[in-house]
C-alpha cells in the first residue's frame, strides 16, 4: 500500500485555519459520547458478524 507523505499540522493550527471554536467542554462531551458507545459495544457480536461475512462462499 502507498504511504502518503503529507505534512501533519498542529491541532491548534488546523482549528485556526478551519475557523473551528473547539472548547474543552465540547471535547469532554465528545469523549463522554464515545465512552458511552464503547461501553455499549458488542465486540463478540461484531466479531461473529465479520466471521460470518468472511465465511460466505464467493
Amino acid at each position: 500500500m502507498a504511504q502518503d507523505t503529507s505534512r501533519k499540522l498542529s491541532v491548534g493550527e488546523i482549528h485556526t485555519r478551519m475557523g473551528l471554536a473547539v472548547t474543552d467542554e465540547g471535547m469532554a462531551r465528545a469523549r463522554q459520547r464515545r465512552r458511552k458507545a464503547e461501553l455499549a459495544r458488542d465486540s463478540e457480536g461484531r466479531a461473529a458478524f465479520l466471521a460470518q461475512l468472511r465465511s460466505r462462499p464467493a
Binding site: 485555519r17 478551519m18 471535547m27 459520547r33 464515545r34 461484531r46
Partner: protein, 143 residues
C-alpha cells in the same frame, strides 16, 4: 498517510490506536465546519489515538462537495489524529457482501474498517448501517 488496516497504529513515531472511522457524511460535515467532528478529532488526538478515513469516503466526499473546499479536505488529512486508509485487497469478497447489505461501496469500506479495527463509524446517517451487526456500529454526529 495512506495505509492498509495492518499498517496503521503508528504516527509521528508514537504508538497509536484506532478510535473511530469517519464515513463520507462525516468528512462532508468536517468540510462544512462541523464542531462535533472537530471536537471528536481533537479529543482523540488528546488521547493519543487516531481516526481512520477510508479512501473511498474521501473520494465520495470530494465528489459530493465538488472539491470546492479542497483546502478543508487537505486540513483533515493534515490533522495529527487522522489516517487515510485503503482497503485490503484480501477483503474484497467481504466488501462485496457489505456492499450488498449497505448499498454503497464507500459505506461498505467504512463498515469493513470499523469491524476490522473494532471501532465505530462516525456518520450523519446511521440508517446506512442498519444491516451491519444489528446497526450497532455507529456514532451519529450531533451538532
Amino acid at each position: 498517510m495512506t495505509e492498509s488496516h495492518d499498517e496503521v497504529g503508528r504516527d509521528h513515531g508514537r504508538a497509536t490506536e484506532a478510535k473511530l472511522v469517519l464515513d463520507t457524511t462525516a468528512v462532508v460535515a468536517w468540510v462544512r465546519g462541523s464542531i462535533a467532528v472537530g471536537e471528536t478529532l481533537a479529543e482523540i488526538d488528546d488521547e493519543g489515538g487516531y481516526v481512520a478515513i477510508p479512501l473511498w469516503c474521501l473520494i465520495e466526499a470530494g465528489h459530493s462537495t465538488a472539491m470546492l473546499d479542497r483546502e478543508r479536505l487537505d486540513l483533515l488529512l493534515a490533522h495529527p489524529a487522522t489516517a487515510l486508509i485503503t482497503d485490503d485487497a484480501a477483503d474484497w469478497e467481504t466488501l462485496v457482501a457489505l456492499r450488498t447489505l449497505i448499498g454503497r461501496a464507500d459505506c461498505a469500506a467504512a463498515a469493513m474498517i470499523a469491524l476490522d479495527l473494532g471501532v465505530d463509524v462516525m456518520t450523519r446517517d446511521a440508517s446506512w448501517y442498519r444491516s451491519v451487526a444489528g446497526g450497532a456500529i455507529v456514532l451519529e454526529i450531533e451538532d
